[in-house]
């Protein structure tokens, strides 16, 4: 023990341990963490797994592995509780959520310590970040429960929600999932990560403490197998998952065709962009909050640092000096910046990636801080000399090490930032507000922090683009993911007429005076199908009424390429897009008679009404083009938090057979109004309407490539679109089997897919065929944080 005068010279911090006595007593009383099902704590039957404190390697207790029977019981309990929970007045649900928020606050010390023991993250973070955000989430959603009826009128809860959460923010991710689900009137079956089950069980006890009705929250512990049982259970209506992109893909495939709602919050490799006019000290501190936060086990961590070349030497010198101040050790010590990573297995994975990075030629800089002898500790660091081609630049390390790159111009920074399959978050550092907002607008990420990083609030939607998943958590948008619009379900859609007649057909036919050549429409040009084939189209009476181009794989490829090139459409003013749509309506009006006649030949029950509805719908979306706005959200003081509705980019649209004009346009219009470019597959049975439609597009000032129209085998083309990595979202109105097929095929780039389950729809009914739901589905929210202060 040094004397006071010795310490006066060394000025070391000394130990500052947080007491873990109460949390340890709780753990001793819970030697085996079981499940919480229907309001009962049950021990669990499956072979238990060890729960280890990664900072000490000590086995804290065991956790049950949920069995099929236990999942079944939990889903049944949730199902039984759901109608009653949903039937409660919003105010009654608000009282429960408020009680949960209050009780989280009343147990904040216990929960913080328990989380630290289980996960290895520092007590500073559990105490100052995780647990306060948990409480904030329940408060915020108590509010949504209170105002649900007026704010979301016409929407209903989804039902029973399966929720699978990760180990990096165990209690916080629980709150992000449970709070909106309950506020909206759903009940849940939640599976914590097998590595970190403790705070979820403590939360279950809080549910019991506040008297939450039995079955509203059910917790089933276990590993991936238990997760798969929940995901695959026919009794759940929605699955919300946070975790790795790989597991996200598996779940996407598993749920394909199930009709279950899905939201995925997956991995990231988020850019952290430092411009030469940034406050470099602030940016360096940003790195601390980005990649050296939570041991780097953060899906939205700024893990790719991009620095403008001129300031790179100064920036890296400052970063190295700052890294030298980091303290790594006992996470219960209040002076530590970093604790242990979650497990030795995770540590080995990180280490292997770091080795690989060095083998590829990058230089690894590590903090000099000594590491404890025991426990899964990982020295923070960063790479220099990494190139985009290096695997560490592309792979999520999920540890406290960032890669770095330099850039020369803002354009290059944006290009490098977007050179990733992920799109979760981005951080932009510049004192020039013009530049910062330009970059924020152009970077493909669900969350952008300007001169800040890793700031969260329950009112600010959080979620990804691209392979970082879809769906949002937090705010109004997060609530929408737990609500559904109950629409009348039509009869199953009949199979389309075949496309097999590609050889001369000698039967009866309506022949025009001059032969009409129906082509496909790609990049503003009429084109023949690459395969050199057309199929005979038949009218309502079965007679041939013409031939449509039989598009194939390569036509999809060409169409998507043309759409990708037409990126300017998303950048023009909303007024501009509205003008084009109004003009489109005008031109449709001029050719009204022609479309009425063509629809009549297809057997439209009321072709006049369908054309009229199409023109009206075009006006409606023209009107919405400059009105479907984002918002400025009240989050923290002195922060402007903007939510912006951004287009996906290239959307694939597969039109229904019923209402061949109105159905097709009901998909195309919202996509165009919000700034997307589309590759649309026209009705397989009635494709000739598309031929006339592209003539209208051509005369309506629509830039080349913004709409591309294909005709042919619906499901064949849909599959190519679903698999295409450039297509960012897909709407499919075909059969139930086709819906399952495209959902499976979409797992490649995890594009959000919207299908109608293969049910006929009354497209003339505005409640079914147009509305904000369509606009919402055509956009993804980007949340931009801009802290301010002189």
């Amino acid at each position: 023990m040094p004397t006071l005068t010795e310490i006066m010279q060394t000025m070391e911090y000394g130990p500052a341990p947080e007491s873990s006595a109460e949390a340890r007593a709780w753990i001793s009383a819970h030697p085996q963490i079981g499940h919480y099902i229907g309001g009962q704590f049950v021990p669990g039957e499956g072979a238990p797994l060890e729960v280890v404190n990664p900072a000490t390697d000590e086995v804290l207790c065991h956790v049950a592995r949920g069995t099929a029977a236990e999942v079944e019981a939990a889903v049944q309990a949730a199902r039984a509780a759901q109608p009653g929970w949903a039937a409660l007045p919003g105010h009654a649900r608000a009282r429960f959520l408020y009680a949960l928020a209050r009780h989280v606050q009343k147990r904040e010390r216990f929960l913080s310590v328990l989380e630290t023991l289980d996960n290895g993250k520092t007590i500073r973070e559990t105490r100052d970040i995780d647990v306060p955000l948990v409480a904030r989430h329940f408060y915020h959603h108590a509010g949504w429960a209170e105002v649900l009826d007026s704010e979301f009128s016409g929407l209903a809860p989804v039902g029973v929600c399966g929720q699978i959460i990760p180990w990096n923010f165990p209690l916080l991710m629980l709150a992000w999932k449970v709070a909106p689900a309950l506020a909206a009137g759903n009940t849940v079956v939640l599976k914590p990560a097998d590595l970190t089950p403790l705070t979820a069980m403590a939360f279950a006890e809080i549910c019991a403490e506040v008297g939450l009705p039995a079955g509203v929250v059910n917790i089933v512990n276990g590993d991936g197998e238990t997760g798969a049982l929940i995901a695959g259970h026919p009794g759940i209506d929605k699955l919300a998952f946070t975790g790795s992109t790989e597991v996200g893909r598996i779940l996407r495939r598993q749920l394909a065709g199930s009709g279950k709602k899905l939201s995925l919050e997956l991995g990231g490799k988020s850019p952290f962009i430092v411009f030469e006019d940034a406050d470099l000290d602030a940016a360096v501190e940003g790195v601390v909050d980005a990649i050296w936060f939570n041991q780097g086990e953060v899906c939205c961590a700024g893990s790719r640092i991009l620095v403008q070349e001129g300031v790179a030497p100064r920036f890296f010198a400052k970063l190295t000096a700052r890294m030298g101040q980091l303290r790594v050790g006992d996470p219960l010590d209040k002076t530590m910046d970093m604790g242990a990573v979650v497990s030795h297995r995770q540590l080995a994975r990180i280490t292997a990636l770091l080795d690989q990075g060095q083998a590829e030629g990058a230089t690894l800089h590590r903090a000099p801080a000594p590491l404890p002898a025991k426990g899964a500790f990982c020295a923070p660091g960063f790479f220099t000399g990494t190139a985009p081609a290096h695997s560490v630049s592309q792979t999520e390390i999920f540890g406290p090490v960032a890669t770095t790159l330099t850039f020369r111009t803002p354009d290059e920074a944006i290009t490098l930032a977007n050179d990733t399959r992920y799109g979760l978050a981005a951080s932009v550092w510049s004192e020039n507000v013009n530049r910062a907002i330009e970059v924020a607008a152009k970077v493909r990420a669900g969350v952008v922090w300007i001169n800040a990083t890793n700031i969260f609030d329950a009112g600010a939607p959080f979620g990804g683009m691209r392979e970082s998943g879809f769906g949002r958590e937090g705010g109004r948008s997060g609530m929408l993911d737990y609500l559904t619009r109950p629409n009348p379900k039509g009869a199953p859609r009949p199979a389309p007429l075949p496309v097999g007649d590609v050889t001369p057909q000698t039967g009866a036919a309506d022949r025009p005076g001059i032969d009409i050549t129906a082509k496909i429409y790609i990049g503003g040009k009429q084109a023949r199908a690459d395969g050199g084939q057309s199929y005979t189209v038949r009218g309502a009476d079965g007679r041939g009424i013409g031939q449509a181009a039989l598009a194939g794989r390569k036509d999809v490829r060409n169409a998507v390429e043309a759409a990708a090139k037409a990126a300017g459409w998303g950048g023009v003013t909303a007024h501009n897009r509205a003008q084009v749509l109004y003009f489109l309506a005008e031109n449709l009006e001029q050719r009204r008679a022609e479309f009425v006649a063509e629809l009549a030949r297809c057997g439209s029950p009321d072709s006049e009404a369908e054309v009229e509805a199409t023109i009206r719908r075009t006006f409606w979306y023209a009107a919405q083009a400059d009105k479907f706005d984002g918002a400025v959200t009240a989050t923290k003081s002195q922060h402007v938090t903007m939510t912006v509705n951004e287009p996906f980019g290239v959307m694939g649209l597969v039109a229904p057979d019923e209402a061949p004009l109105l159905g097709l346009m009901s998909l195309v219009l919202p996509a165009l109004a919000t700034g997307n470019r589309v590759v649309a597959v026209a009705s397989q049975s009635h494709p000739l309407i598309a031929t006339r439609l592209y003539q209208v597009f051509e005369t309506s000032d629509l830039p080349a490539g913004v709409v591309n129209l294909l005709t042919g085998d619906r499901d064949g083309l849909a599959k190519v679109l679903a698999e295409h990595d450039e297509v960012a979202a897909l709407w499919y109105c075909g059969s139930a089997e086709g819906g399952a097929m495209v959902e499976t095929a979409s797992a490649g780039n995890l594009k959000p897919v919207w299908t109608d389950g293969g049910h006929l729809r009354d497209w003339t009914d505005p409640a079914q065929g147009q509305g904000r739901d369509f606009l919402h589905r055509a956009t993804q929210i980007k949340t931009i944080w801009l802290p301010y202060g002189v």
Binding site: L4, G14, A452
Partner: protein
Amino acid sequence: MTDHFPRMTGTAFTPDWFEAAVVNTPAAERRAASLGTRRTVKKDWQAAWLARAITCIDLTTLAGDDTAGRVQRLCAKAKAPLRADLAAALGLEGLTVGAVCVYPTMVPHAVKALEGTGIPVASVATGFPAGLTPLPLRLAEIRYAVDQGAREIDIVITREHALTGNWAALYDEIRQMREACGDAHMKAILATGDLRTLTNVYKASMVAMQAGSDFIKTSTGKEEVNATLPVSLTMVRALRDFRDLTGQWVGFKPAGGLKTAKDAMNWQILMKEELGTRWLMPDLFRIGASSMLGDIERQLEHHVTGRYSAAHRHALA
């Protein structure tokens, strides 16, 4: 220790080092707020840190009603900042504050009272606190205070130069003040509460260091806003940049508004985290305060006895 650190020479006026500088205020505020949550000191370490803080205090009286008697009382406290039994229990006999800080006319009283202790007398000068008397008078005031035995001079800058971006004028003025100080150490008070923006604070810090200040100091204690952590963070980052550019180590003195032992530790953590341990010593770090010492004494008594203390058990300054 006070006189051991080499005098600063400053540099030529070099606007390149600060003209493009920007400080992001929300980021500075976030960092300042997290310093005290990322670090803490407990038990013996806390006692040692507080004892170290005492050695850094410029025990100050700067009031219109100062008298020889008032200054003598302050000096007595400066010599024996801890009650004898506490100092003995802590093994800290002989501990003194860093300096005593007074108005120029009070310097002779302080010098006399501190004779033989080695505790330097610091004097404010240059038309403190507004600094708007004519420059020759301000320079004469410095020379007067030095003549009277002040070994440290706390000058105030002309805020107008900073607020109008006339950095060359600011540099020239501080240079002349530095000359007038002779061998006495010069602390440049930036009056950051008047400068308002952190970017201004950074620039003024750089100019003051280029002009040869031995210390830069936040406030006179008379501005509406005195030392804050974000302002201090900005100034110590300027110190670090200046050290990296020149190899010269300039000291830092927050003043005004630091009243509690907790404040002392927050600022010490700031110094250690941003600059390193060396910058915690009194030749590079001073705290301008009067009431803080009393709170530190009570904390140290609690450390010794385990009982919470009361102000009246400790001698007044």
